[in-house]
């Protein structure tokens, strides 16, 4: 077993898991944080996207042992229902999500992008979302939403 102590969404958490446990599994099964999804399990779809020490990563491609001592942000750490993050608010208004399965990952990718680059161009947004597959809505409304947030922030 591997003993892991880390910060998840601002809280200190500990877990003891088998060494082959991925960060995604630990989040979902040990911490009951099911916002990050298992879509492909090989780092293509981005449904498992989380932010580790400020870096956007696929949680299915990290072992639990690798995040010992690190700071993990999942979709659950972003906001609450009556205090939405601006990205969640605009995604809701623009209808950027349909089935919602890619949503937690896409929203974290958008957050990471806007943290890095407050005024992204459409190619910048496309590049930032290229690791998040969406099979329903497509990307147009997500791109619109991210641009809207950037505009509102810069005003």
């Amino acid at each position: 077993m591997v003993r892991v102590s880390l910060t998840v969404n601002g809280e200190k958490r500990d877990a003891e898991v088998p060494p082959e446990t991925t960060l995604l599994r630990m989040l979902r099964e040990a911490f009951n944080l099911t916002g990050a999804k298992l879509g492909c399990d090989v780092g293509d779809c981005g449904a498992c996207t989380v932010i580790v020490d400020g870096k956007l990563v696929n949680s299915c491609l990290m072992l639990a042992g690798q995040v010992d001592g690190r700071d993990v942000l999942t979709i659950e750490g972003l906001a609450t229902a009556d205090n939405l993050h601006p990205i969640q608010k605009v995604f809701e208004e623009k209808g950027s999500l349909q089935c919602g399965f890619c949503g937690p990952g896409v929203i974290l990718s958008a957050k990471w992008l806007l943290d890095q680059n407050p005024d992204p161009s459409v190619p910048d947004i496309r590049d930032a979302l290229s690791g998040n597959l969406c099979r329903c809505t497509g990307y147009t409304k997500m791109i619109e939403a991210i641009q809207t947030i950037a505009r509102e922030r810069t005003v």
Partner: protein, 465 residues
């Protein structure tokens, strides 16, 4: 809107509903009104937000794989890996002896081992015969997903392999061995005849023939198929499932498990993408049996590879077009043969076959038409429902054919289409009178928007300079 008064059906319905509202015994909660001519519903142009957007954005929407029930076991299914074979020996003893493995089942444990939305030709778990490589041949319930996966490798299955039928055109031939012998390989057929095809060809200035093929396509919903089965204290089965058609699924689960529908409850939560790929049961009877055998809740979630080889896909279609035209590009006659690759099981092939056949003439007025479609079994991943039910495949066929003919006749491809499009009141291939037809307007609008008439627009840019 005129159609409502012509056919009368909607008016009748409206009267019926009005009559019902007058009855004190059957009060309706809201006033029901029929459509008013030339008045658009006020919903058009209104902005609204999806009611589920909030929980989606918060990551709080619960999909099936997000559920955990105390005591829950994880199921995994062993896939055949061979396209056509007889199962000669099954040995699950080593898997059953593994610590953490709670139950193992095979095809013989399924009470009624056949299902399907139209033909009941699909086994829950293959028993005796394997029809495609993605067939499940055994299932394991274990305390962790990994133990279940490891146990699959301990299940020993011996096969007597047969030469698989892989080419739909081969399958179409009468001398080809039946995939599901003694049943024939052609399991669906549709023929549409309109006008006088021979006369149409005889009067044609030129006749063009072309053949097109499309490939198999997987839906790739971002959420893999998943279901969770639990029996309650009173012997009722509750299944949480990604199933899109729960009433149909309930009937199939009842059939395969040999219990009345009234003892089955299906709960379908938000689905992470369906696209037609989650319209029938997959593992539900298997986990139902495993849950019964173990007395514990059992969950099964497909791996991404299983999505590709153990769920339905879009039918590949081989399309042969023969079209007679005038010098001006007006289509006088068209003959189409479609061969749909059905894969190992029928699934929604009949619906797909029908749609493809009705739509294969395209949005064009063709007085003389013969369209014939076949769907055949092959030893491949089954094909079923997918957005459009056969329409996208034939669209690729007839539009490619149209471009080829326009080029050969020296007619602008847009003009060629405008000379043939369906108009208000045109008859469809099945002689349905069509209304609200705006093909011409749509084409012109589209051409305007992407600048068709601009020099060079729409020309292929594929060649490397």
């Amino acid at each position: 809107m005129e159609t409502t008064t012509k056919t009368g059906t909607l008016v009748e319905a409206e009267e019926l509903l009005r009559a019902r509202t007058h009855s004190p015994l059957v009060p309706l909660p809201i006033e029901v009104r029929g459509p008013e001519p030339n008045r658009q519903t006020p919903a058009v142009g209104q902005r609204t937000t999806r009611p589920d957007a909030r929980t989606h954005g918060l990551g709080q929407t619960k999909y099936i794989d997000d559920f955990y029930v105390p005591g829950m076991l994880y199921a995994k299914i062993k896939r055949a890996g061979v396209a056509s074979a007889r199962i000669t020996k099954v040995d699950t003893s080593e898997a059953e002896a593994m610590p953490g493995v709670v139950a193992v089942i095979t095809g013989k444990d399924i009470p009624v081992n056949s299902f399907g939305p139209s033909l009941k030709d699909q086994p829950v778990l293959a028993h005796e015969r394997v029809f495609h490589a993605g067939d499940g041949v055994a299932a394991v319930a274990a305390v962790t997903e990994q133990i279940a996966a490891d146990a699959l490798e301990k299940i020993k299955i011996e096969y007597e392999e047969f030469a698989p039928v892989l080419d739909p055109l081969e399958s179409l031939k009468l001398e080809t061995p039946g995939v599901h012998a003694p049943s024939a390989n052609i399991y669906g057929h549709k023929l549409i005849k309109k006008g006088d095809i021979e006369k149409g060809f005889a009067e044609s200035y030129r006749i063009f023939e072309a053949s097109f093929r499309t490939q198999m396509v997987e839906h790739v919903p971002l959420e893999p198929h998943s279901s969770l089965a639990q029996w309650d204290a009173n012997g009722r089965l509750t299944i949480h499932s990604t199933l899109g058609r729960i009433t149909l699924g309930r009937a199939d689960i009842a059939r395969t498990l040999g219990i009345p529908m009234s003892r089955i409850r299906i709960i379908a939560t938000v689905v992470g993408g369906n696209f037609g790929g989650k319209n029938e049961i997959t593992t539900e009877p298997v986990i139902g049996m495993l849950a019964k055998k173990t007395g514990r809740p059992v969950k099964c979630t497909f791996t991404r590879p299983e999505e590709f080889y153990a769920s339905t896909t879009r039918h590949p279609i081989i399309m042969d077009y023969k079209t007679g035209v005038t010098k001006e590009g007006k289509i006088l006659a068209r003959k189409v043969r479609l061969v749909l690759d059905g894969g190992a099981y029928c699934s929604w092939s009949e619906t797909t076959l029908g749609k493809a056949c009705i739509l294969c003439a395209g949005p064009y007025e063709i007085e003389n038409l013969v369209a014939e479609a076949f769907v055949v079994y092959t030893n491949k991943t089954m094909t079923g429902a997918m957005r459009g039910f056969g329409a996208p495949q034939v669209c690729f066929g007839y539009e490619s054919h149209m471009d080829d003919m326009a080029k050969a006749l020296g007619i602008d491809p847009l003009e060629m289409r405008l000379r043939n499009v369906l108009k208000e009141g045109s008859l469809s291939p099945t002689s349905q009178a069509l209304h609200s037809v705006v093909v011409k307007e749509s084409l012109l609008q589209a051409a305007k928007r992407f600048g068709w008439n601009v020099q060079g627009a729409g020309q292929g840019q594929g060649a490397l300079p």
